[in-house]
């Protein structure tokens, strides 16, 4: 079965170039992609991910709110009994990376991450978690 991915914009950040491009690149790699649209909350993302029965959640954040909001998405999933892994892409200062991993973010893709890197990392995470 194809890998299913929910890509989501959480919070107030409207930069949607990255998420749309990555969604298409994931489709090109044979994955099924669902896009939540803009201005989601951690709760709406968790509910959608469980309803859509996805293998991985991809967040896109370029407004600097990732340290607050990304862990809340992980928390909202776990509170609902879901172990779906969460990955993050966007503008993330290097010094935030360790803490994000500790808070349960499975991978972080910075600017310049290649399609190959994103696809292979997500495939690896999904293979590992199922």
């Amino acid at each position: 079965m194809n890998t299913r991915v929910l890509v989501a914009k959480v919070g107030l950040d409207g930069h949607d170039r990255g998420i749309k491009v990555v969604a298409r690149l994931l489709r090109d790699a044979g994955m099924e992609v669902v896009y939540t649209g803009l201005f989601q909350t951690p709760e709406t993302v968790a509910v959608a991910a469980i309803q859509e029965d996805v293998d991985v959640v991809g967040l896109s954040m370029l407004s600097g709110a990732h340290m607050t909001l990304a862990p809340l998405v992980v928390q909202a999933l776990r509170e609902r009994g879901s172990e779906i892994p969460v990955v993050l892409g966007g503008i993330v200062p290097p010094q935030d990376l360790d803490e994000l991993r500790e808070l349960g973010i499975a991978a972080v893709f910075g600017p310049g991450a290649s399609a190959e890197e994103i696809v292979s990392t997500i495939s690896g995470i999904v293979a590992h978690s199922t």
């Binding site: 919070g11 491009v21 690149l25 896009y35 649209g37 803009l38 709110a65 910075g110 600017p111």
Partner: protein, 546 residues
């Protein structure tokens, strides 16, 4: 008497202009003419302005080095503004945080984690007062990069200036206020498009009547390009939006000549050097032709497209961030050779975080090197007459006209209707997403190289650049400040002002600016004013599409 030739007219206009101090010669001492070209060719300051809107261009006045800044709470940004002025910046441009841009208060649940992050947090008049403390607003022009709540921010700015004794008529500056590109590209919308255009109309009419030095809209291609469009799409969508605002003002009973001179433009300076220069030249020519021939503007100021430029944020890399200084310098040079009126240069660290003070200073220094060391500002349109640049300019003009025709067709002859329908039908958004995807594929296939990303990776492990840290402490401080204002203000006055705002929002014949200024003076918050309007206008929800 024989008609004045273009060259004679240029000479006459040039001789009227004062010149800045400087040596207009090369380093070897070869004297430089203000412009070069055949005597029967085009000249700057002459219709259709391909070669520049002013006869003397940078010989009279260098471009404004307008650095975009904003972070944390108002006092933090005020300190950065003062630093920019001390360092030789000649204009201010305010970046607001996401809650402010979306018309939410800092204590709104949706604002969690976003307060003061990518701009300054503004909730009430008290914040605007701190933002401009010690800065003479009658002496320095201010640009405010805000769109959905643009009318609200203008009201706060007017209220603050009047409180500090500066009459609204003396305020010089620009409101971005370009709502069309929000739906197309930047996605900071609150109300549905047609309701938003009512607010734009009100700001155009209000500033035309009461603020003679104010530019009502900065029609912005920057965000369209950053969202992934091509240079041609940036050019065509932006000018089409400009035509739409002219038509909107005309519907409100204003003449083209009352509104067109108050529109300024804002373009991206991306890394494809010559294409960018051709884009600026084509933009001036297209605007002049459309204003004169299509909208029958009779005043020269209406034909002249003036623009701000910002280097391309998307061209910056997180890898080897110092090399972004070189990218930004090349992009800034394109803006200058293309005849920009003002310029913002990005900082090297912006693919990682908001700029540090040092990185922002280096970015400003980059402009100063171009302005004061390179000698490029001595001759107007130095690339005019290049076979390559002229042909590229013509081709961009032709391709933009094809897009104008498509938009005009969507609007059955109206560019205003065409732009709104194009948004409602996801046409602009779809084209931008397609172009972004095509470009990304060309990077991934190796067809295009990005230094430090797809090639030349040595040095990528060196990640010791100090970046600006914004902590949640700012969010806590701002919420406390807001709480204090809420306690101290006269609640009855606030409720009365908001009630009036709702009533007047329901009557499209009323201009909402006076009600907004009164609400601002009563210390109504940005979130309260925007909610009152949303009660009447409704809220826009974008249908997600990939």
């Amino acid at each position: 008497m024989a008609a004045e030739s273009a060259q004679e007219r240029w000479r006459r206009l040039f001789n009227k202009e004062a010149l800045r101090p400087g040596t207009f010669a090369t380093m070897s001492g070869i004297p430089l003419a203000p412009v070069y070209g055949p005597s029967d060719g085009e000249f700057p300051g002459n219709y259709p302005y391909t070669r520049g809107v002013h006869a003397s261009m940078y010989r009279t006045k260098l471009w404004t080095m307008r650095m975009f800044a904003g972070f944390g709470i108002a006092t933090d940004t005020n300190a950065r503004f003062r630093e920019i002025i001390r360092a030789g910046g000649t204009g201010l441009s305010t970046a607001f945080d996401m809650p402010t841009l979306l018309g939410l208060d800092s204590d709104d649940p949706m604002s969690l984690g976003e307060v003061g992050r990518c701009g300054v947090a503004i909730d009430t008049l008290a914040d605007v007062r701190d933002l401009f403390a010690g800065i003479d607003l009658s002496n320095i022009t201010t640009s405010m990069t805000i769109n959905s709540p643009a009318a609200v921010m203008l009201a706060l700015f007017v209220a603050q200036a009047e409180e500090s004794g500066v009459a609204r008529a003396r305020l010089g500056g620009t409101l971005q206020n370009d709502i069309l590109k929000e739906y197309q590209a930047q996605k900071e919308f609150v109300f549905p498009p047609r309701q938003s255009m009512r607010l734009v109309r009100d700001t155009i009419a209000f500033t035309a009547a009461e603020m003679p030095k104010w530019n009502s809209i900065s029609v912005s291609g920057y965000h369209i390009r950053e969202a992934g469009s091509t240079a041609v799409e940036e050019l065509a969508f932006t000018l089409a939006n400009g035509f739409a605002y002219v038509e909107l003002a005309r519907e409100a009973g204003l003449s083209v000549d009352a509104v067109a001179p108050r529109l300024s433009f804002f373009f991206n300076a991306h890394i494809d050097f010559f294409e960018e220069i051709a884009k600026y030249r084509a933009a001036r020519r297209l605007w002049a032709k459309w204003m004169r021939e299509h909208y029958h503007a009779t005043e020269e100021r209406s034909w002249q497209l003036r623009f701000h430029t910002q280097t391309a944020g998307v061209s910056l890399t997180a890898q080897q961030p110092e090399i972004n200084i070189a990218r930004t310098a090349i992009e800034a040079l394109a803006g200058v050779l293309g005849g920009t009126q003002s310029l913002h240069t990005n900082s090297m660290d912006e693919a990682l975080a908001l700029p540090s003070e040092k990185a922002a200073r280096i970015a400003l220094r980059t402009q100063q090197i171009i302005a004061h060391e390179t000698n490029v500002a001595n001759v107007a349109d130095p690339l005019g007459g290049s076979w390559f640049v002229e042909e590229l300019t013509d081709e961009m003009e032709r391709e933009a006209e094809v897009i104008f025709a498509l938009i005009g067709k969507m609007g059955e002859g109206s560019m205003l209707e065409g732009c709104v329908r194009g948004i409602e039908e996801n046409w602009f958004q779809g084209r931008i997403a397609d172009s972004a995807y095509e470009l990304e594929r060309s990077f991934n296939s190796g067809e295009r190289v990005i230094v430090g990303v797809s090639d030349f990776l040595e040095g990528n492990d060196d990640t010791d650049l100090a970046t600006l840290r914004i902590t949640n402490e700012d969010e806590r401080k701002q919420r406390a400040r807001l709480q204090q204002v809420r306690l101290e203000r006269d609640t009855v006055k606030v409720q009365e002002a908001l009630h009036r705002l709702r009533l007047e929002a329901g009557d499209p014949s009323v201009n909402l600016m006076p009600a907004l200024i009164d609400a601002a003076k009563a210390y109504a918050t940005v979130g309260e004013m925007m909610s009152a309007l949303a009660d009447v206008f409704g809220r826009y929800v974008e249908v997600p599409s990939l």
